[in-house]
């Protein structure tokens, strides 16, 4: 399979402009500014069917189309907060090939007529921020940023904005609040950022990988993009495979290939003597799949959704037969409790209660009815919060109980793991 986004990764000094250009970099931008109107780019991206790679999988061209037709300034915000546990693809793109992201970003700004863009990087991406800032400095010097870009009249200023360790900034309105210098409390929607976003202006928020995709879609066209992957699920995806596999890493693959191939072919399968127990396919919030489900499902957005889970951020965590599901669920619950921003009571309190109950079940102190209490709690969090963090905290707990209830019950009765043999706590 032909690689697109990761094609050049591994080339020495790829993050330098000289190297990037020697591999054809910025030719797409030069051509587009010469020959295309902004609306042409919007049309290509819409027709490509590109769906956002950050988590929700919303069609990028449609998102751009929500911008109101008025004369207010528009902003583009690149979401590089990459905090969904199990996800590490954007780190690779920023650190190794920042110009690719930047070219996609400039093309996108041209398309949506934004003259100021922010690249929001999670605060822990120290090297990534350095590399991206270096790429931006080179791009200014080469005339790809600034005023009258390549003589086209386009103007664009780009700022790297570093976060500071808050998962909630991955949610686009939380990110916008953070960008504005505030606590990252997500906003009630509507209004959507397309209308009232950063600094009260129309704002587009796109993921790093999504913007990198734009660069290639503009270069090669919507028809080419539509030749990869099944209908409504076009293009390649950067799968981040981790957990109990032989070769964890980022694998760029066409959407829709069997999920088992990602694990057993590309990630090298499981460690010797182990069998597959479960897969969390799209970051820790995505509902867990049993081994049987994982072996059957295809890896596109729609197929995963049909199987009751989601492709999410592409963070695929693989669990083998040594893992106790009570423990893995507890670790996930601990995370969502830690990262709840505290704005909505159901999430702030509920995530803490879920963690506490899972902790006592894990430690053999579960009380009768605890498992059902967890499910009940989920129904009181789900859909009752401003942002999807509440839902994200419920999915992993609810799905784990539904699919591995015997393990929870066994913990309650016997005060030990049913099948997990190696403690991960």
């Amino acid at each position: 399979m032909e690689k697109v986004l990761t094609r050049d990764i591994g080339t020495p000094n790829l993050w330098k402009l000289e190297t990037y250009r020697s591999l054809g970099g910025y030719k797409t931008l030069e051509k587009a500014l010469r020959e295309s109107q902004p609306d042409d780019i919007v049309t290509i991206v819409r027709d490509s069917g590109l769906r956002g790679r950050g988590g929700a999988g919303f069609p990028t061209g449609v998102k751009w189309g929500f911008l109101p037709k008025d004369n207010r300034p528009r902003y583009l915000v690149c979401n590089g907060d990459e905090s969904e546990p199990g996800t590490f693809k954007d780190r690779v793109l920023i650190e190794d090939d920042p110009h690719q992201v930047l070219e996609g970003l400039i093309l996108s700004c041209y398309a949506v007529r934004a003259s100021l863009a922010f690249i929001y990087l999670r605060g822990e991406f120290f090297l990534g921020a350095q590399r991206m800032q270096g790429a931006i400095d080179e791009a200014y010097a080469a005339g790809y940023l600034g005023t009258n870009i390549l003589g086209s009249g386009m103007q664009l200023d780009v700022l790297v904005h570093r976060g500071a360790g808050a998962y909630i900034c991955g949610e686009e309105t939380g990110l916008i609040e953070s960008l504005e210098g505030k606590r990252a409390y997500p906003r009630i929607k509507p209004p959507f950022p397309a209308n009232i976003g950063a600094f009260g202006m129309p704002t587009v928020v796109n993921n790093i990988e999504t913007l990198a995709d734009v660069r290639h879609i503009v270069e090669r066209g919507a028809a080419w993009y539509n030749s990869i992957g099944p209908e409504r699920n076009r293009g390649t995806r950067l799968w981040c495979v981790s957990g109990n596999v032989q070769r964890p890493g980022v694998y760029e693959l066409p959407l829709g290939i069997p999920l088992r191939d990602i694990i057993f072919e590309y990630a090298g399968g499981l460690h010797e003597g182990r069998t597959l127990k479960a897969v969390i396919p799209g970051g820790s919030s995505s509902p867990i799949l049993t081994a049987d489900e994982a072996m059957e499902v295809n890896s596109d957005f729609d197929a995963l959704q049909k199987a009751g889970s989601m492709g999410g951020s592409g963070g695929m965590m693989v669990l083998d037969d040594t893992v106790c599901i009570v423990q893995s669920t507890y670790i996930i619950a601990e995370f969502y409790h830690d990262e709840s921003c505290g704005q909505c009571s159901p999430c702030r309190e509920g995530t803490g209660w879920m963690e506490k109950i899972l902790h006592r079940i894990e430690h053999g102190e579960g009380r009768p009815g605890d498992v059902d209490l967890l499910l009940h709690m989920g129904t009181n969090i789900f859909g009752r919060t401003i942002c999807p963090l509440g839902d994200a905290a419920v999915w992993p707990v609810e799905s784990a109980i539904k699919k591995f209830r015997a393990e929870f019950e066994h913990h309650m009765r016997e005060r030990q793991c049913l099948s997990g043999t190696l403690s991960i706590l």
Binding site: E82, G86, H161, G181, A198, C240, G243, I280, M317
Partner: protein, 159 residues
Amino acid sequence: MAVQFSQASEATIRQLLERYPTRRAVMLPALHLAMQEFPYIDDEVCQAVADLLQVPMVDVKGVATFYSLFPTEPHGKYSLEVCINLSCSLNGARRCLRYLENKLGIKAGETTPDGRFTLRGMECLAACDKAPMMHINNEVMHTNLTEAKLDQILQELSK
């Protein structure tokens, strides 16, 4: 005594104030610069940021205390930040954390009495393919940790 940013940092902040649409938006960049200049973000540092941004000091403090990367209390010279999320835990991260706790004689979240090390269990740091992993002072990354590797790292930092 009131604290002051270096001239270089102050100049950087003034440049950013020109580029961002609002003054307050320079909050996180200013706090990141503050981290390089001051040991931690106390009320005086918040006041210095507030003065430059011309925003109320409580707003700066409210932001500084929200984000986990801004330390608002004294901490060790080296902050050992071990990821303990699921993918790292599946590969022994919590054993690594306990190993460090025993070696250093402190619990996660604490600082050694000599002020050299602070140990922290972190949420996912987006390097799950190199699990278990940790950051030191949010800048240096150590991957595929083993007890031998941790010994070596501690030895280097104890010099």
